[in-house]
């Protein structure tokens, strides 16, 4: 009943490949948007790694010099404790990118298995699994976060897992409808007739076909996870001082908007840049994969 063919995000009609295999990766990596995105991510990663040595320490206090605007000494300005914003933004990238990746992967794995189980088993199993996902989406995020802090403590792993978990509900729903419409298609009938085991059909044939929709959802998830992580820090989950993530920096900066416009602006710019880059990587991968879609 809910069989909607899953959307496959596509920015432009793909060109046809000469061949598959390793050529795929090469073709992907030579696309101009991919190169641009990789450069952005590369710069962020390099900054995260070398920032503490080249720039100021991200935790060095200088209270009298707080809320300084950008200058030679502090290219991004300073925060409420006079710490260098550039090195903090660079350093926060480690956490933010790590959490975003981890959570997105977790959401993708959990959501896919979840949605696939629902679609493949059908009937009551489907009903129950999907209703759970819906209920999960209806329960306030903050409540979930508090439960997780109470149950598993407030460390980064818990943070990553809960962020992923929160995103897995929607992912499961998307995965289910993608798998369902694949299962309805004639080729699955063909594979059954050939005698391919059910599990192999699901994981070997159907799953790769739903990859474009799942990738699409994942690139949305990447963006969501950065924001979600900031929200969760709000209830004390995850990033604790003096560490910082882009989300928490944006939040702190926003509350000091009138002291220093640079404080929220810089993390905001980096967030938009990073997410745009990650999204580009995702959608380009789809374009490359989509070439064989009907």
């Amino acid at each position: 009943m809910t069989a909607s063919s899953p959307p496959v995000l596509l920015e432009e009609p793909p060109a046809l490949p000469e061949d598959s295999g390793p050529g795929l990766l090469r073709r992907y990596l030579t696309r101009p948007p991919v190169i641009a995105a990789l450069v952005v991510i590369g710069v962020l990663v390099i900054m995260a790694v070398i920032a503490p040595w080249v720039l100021h320490s991200p935790t060095a206090l200088d209270v009298p010099d707080r809320f300084a605007p950008p200058s030679g000494a502090h290219p991004f300005g300073t925060d409420e404790l006079g710490r260098d914003l550039l090195s903090r933004v660079a350093y926060a990238g480690r956490l933010s990118l790590g959490i975003a990746f981890g959570a997105t992967v977790f959401a993708m794995v959990l959501g896919t298995v979840w949605g696939m189980a629902a679609a493949a088993r059908g009937g009551w199993v489907d009903e129950v699994l999907m209703r759970i996902a819906e209920a999960g989406m209806a329960i306030p995020i903050i409540l979930f976060a508090l439960v997780f802090v109470a149950a598993f403590g407030a460390d980064l792993v818990a943070m990553t897992l809960i962020t992923g978990f929160l995103m897995s509900f929607l992912t499961a729903r998307i995965a289910r409808s993608a798998v369902l419409s694949e299962l309805k298609s004639e080729y699955v009938h063909g594979l059954t007739a050939v005698g391919v085991p059910r599990m192999r059909i699901l994981f070997g044939e159907v799953l790769p076909n739903t990859l474009p929709s799942l990738l699409a959802q994942s690139s949305l998830n990447l963006a969501t996870s950065v924001m979600l992580e900031a929200t969760l820090s709000f209830v004390g989950l995850g990033v604790q001082p003096p560490a910082a993530s882009w989300g928490t920096m944006l939040q702190n900066g926003y509350s000091h908007l009138y002291e220093s416009i640079w404080y929220p602006l810089m993390p905001a710019l980096v967030i938009v840049l990073a997410i745009a880059a990650l999204n580009t990587l995702g959608s380009e991968l789809q374009v490359v994969l989509h070439r064989s879609a009907s």
């Binding site: 935790t59 209270v63 009298p64 707080r66 508090l146 209830v235 001082p241 908007l257 002291e259």
Partner: protein, 505 residues
């Protein structure tokens, strides 16, 4: 002026205690903004500081507090006591009616006091008037109060017993049936409170037609609203933005003698802080000047020793030594108390609100790091935060709990010191020496005089030596008031008094 703290020396902007006097006109709507929501309206069982400005708008007490922290008549026009301060008589203002038209009588007053005294009510005012034995309405306008132990300061203690409609207390948030100058028109919990002028007010005619209390999501949103002129008063502004907001004729208000303090509470019954040396060590490790600078932008009185009385207070024990920031001493004392390099302590603070506590924690984190002690900052959502230490009696070893306590009004009111006594409710679980409790008795039962002063001094000395809580500085909430608002004044812990305010004529 905000007293002689080190921080305020660098601060060019001095907050005022009131928004100025001058001719006021009648009429207009005052919009009052704050970032915390009013969740209920019972004035005798307060839920948060966000509702305290309503105490004098919707309600009256028998007495009220004046801008100089003295006591004045409110519903009671006059009062007397026997010389032993055990028997009191209050004469009530005749002809006062509740908002719903019902007459207010001494019986109502008695019922309210009894309600506050009832431990199950949970009134924060109860510890201050616990010594009351009986309350009797001798006639509709006369109230007799008998005490168990003498209390010369009963009128002050009664300020916060607000006169509600006890029979209908279940609906207090619905109709807020009080006697105050404004009455309730609409209330959306945690969002808005709409007040309109009480035309039958027994006192001077209130100036505003309407007062709207609006809750803002965050300080930036509230500040934007203030700058755009859509609100007239903003209460509890973030200290770091205060200076920027006090422009375009807007005035920054703060208490002259702040009765609130930013403190670190410690469980004095669990290691390591059951050892006073560990507590003192922590005190030495606190770079109070930087903290007050970063956390409160210098608005406030930087603490010099670990006692709650502000150095700006007249009764402050000036003979106390100043415990300056000294990491060597801290390290030494920590070692003696068994806290060594490589050990870990936890800083328990809130997330989302009061971010300045975290800011100050980060400074402590740096300092302790220099002597090899690791400080884990754990920011929690507010209810999780409070459940760790509240109420008195909880165990929290190794935890430094950031808190902001308001013990108003300041000395000579005894409550700030009483809070630490055996019968007080300090979450530090501190058991004071016998001398401390004895001094408390002395103060409570005697009027002004050398005995009382001596007791004040000794109690402060004990607090300083034992450091049951670490006091970083005394502050009060900061508020910003529009240029055309007059007659607003700040109580010692930062509550704004709007009852006599109006727009400039």
């Amino acid at each position: 002026g905000g007293g002689g703290g080190a921080g305020s020396g660098q601060q060019p902007l001095k907050p005022a205690a009131d928004s100025g006097s001058g001719a006021m006109k009648d009429g207009g709507t005052l919009v009052y903004g704050q970032t915390a929501g009013v969740s209920q309206l019972d004035p005798n069982v307060i839920s948060s500081g966000a509702q305290t400005m309503l105490q004098t708008l919707l309600w009256n007490g028998l007495t009220k507090i004046n801008p100089d922290d003295s006591v004045g008549p409110d519903l009671a026009t006059s009062w007397q006591s026997t010389p032993d301060y055990l028997h009191w008589t209050f004469h009530l203002h005749p002809g006062v009616t509740y908002h719903n038209g019902r007459a207010f009588t001494a019986t109502d007053a008695a019922q309210n006091i009894e309600r506050v005294l009832n431990p199950t009510t949970g009134s924060q005012t109860r510890p201050r008037i616990e010594m009351i034995n009986t309350v009797t309405a001798t006639d509709p306008n006369t109230l007799a109060i008998d005490l168990k132990t003498p209390n010369p300061q009963l009128p002050l203690a009664l300020v916060n017993v607000k006169m509600t409609d006890v029979a209908d207390i279940a609906n207090v948030s619905k109709d807020a049936n009080g006697t105050g100058p404004y009455k309730l028109r609409a209330f959306t919990p945690d969002q808005t409170v709409d007040l309109v002028r009480n035309g039958n007010y027994f006192g001077a005619k209130p100036h505003f037609d309407e007062i709207k209390v609006v809750r803002y999501a965050d300080s930036t949103a509230a500040e934007t609203a203030l700058r755009s002129g859509s609100i007239n008063v903003l209460w509890s502004v973030a200290p770091t933005s205060a200076a920027g907001l006090a422009a375009d004729g807007r005035k920054l208000l703060a208490a002259t003698d702040p009765a609130s303090a930013f403190v670190w509470e410690l469980d004095t019954t669990s290691p390591p802080f059951n050892n006073p040396k560990a507590r003192l060590a922590l005190s030495y490790a606190a770079d109070r000047v930087s903290m007050m600078q970063a956390g409160y932008a210098g608005f406030g009185v930087t603490g010099t020793s670990d006692e709650i009385v502000s150095p700006s207070n007249k009764y402050y024990n000036k003979s106390l030594p100043t415990d300056a920031y000294d990491l060597n001493k801290a390290k030494e004392l920590f070692a003696e108390a068994g806290v060594h390099s490589g050990d870990t302590l936890t800083y328990w603070t809130t997330s989302g609100s009061y971010t300045e506590w975290t800011t100050m924690g980060e400074i402590l984190q740096q300092s302790l790091g220099q002597i090899g002690i690791k400080l884990n900052i754990q920011a929690n959502e507010i209810a999780t935060w409070s459940a760790k230490t509240y109420p008195k009696g909880k165990k929290y070893p190794g935890l430094i709990a950031a808190n902001y306590i308001s013990l108003a009004p300041p000395l000579p009111n005894t409550y700030p010191l009483e809070w630490f006594s055996s019968s007080g409710t300090c979450e530090c679980n501190w058991v004071p020496p016998a001398r401390y409790d004895a001094d408390e008795q002395t103060i409570e039962q005697q009027g002004d005089g050398p005995a009382r002063t001596a007791a004040f001094d000794e109690m402060q000395q004990i607090l300083h030596d034992q450091a049951p809580v670490i006091v970083i500085g005394n502050t009060s909430f900061l508020s910003v008031v529009g240029a055309d608002v007059r007659g607003v004044w700040v109580e010692s812990e930062g509550t704004l008094h709007l009852e006599d305010a109006g727009f400039a004529a």
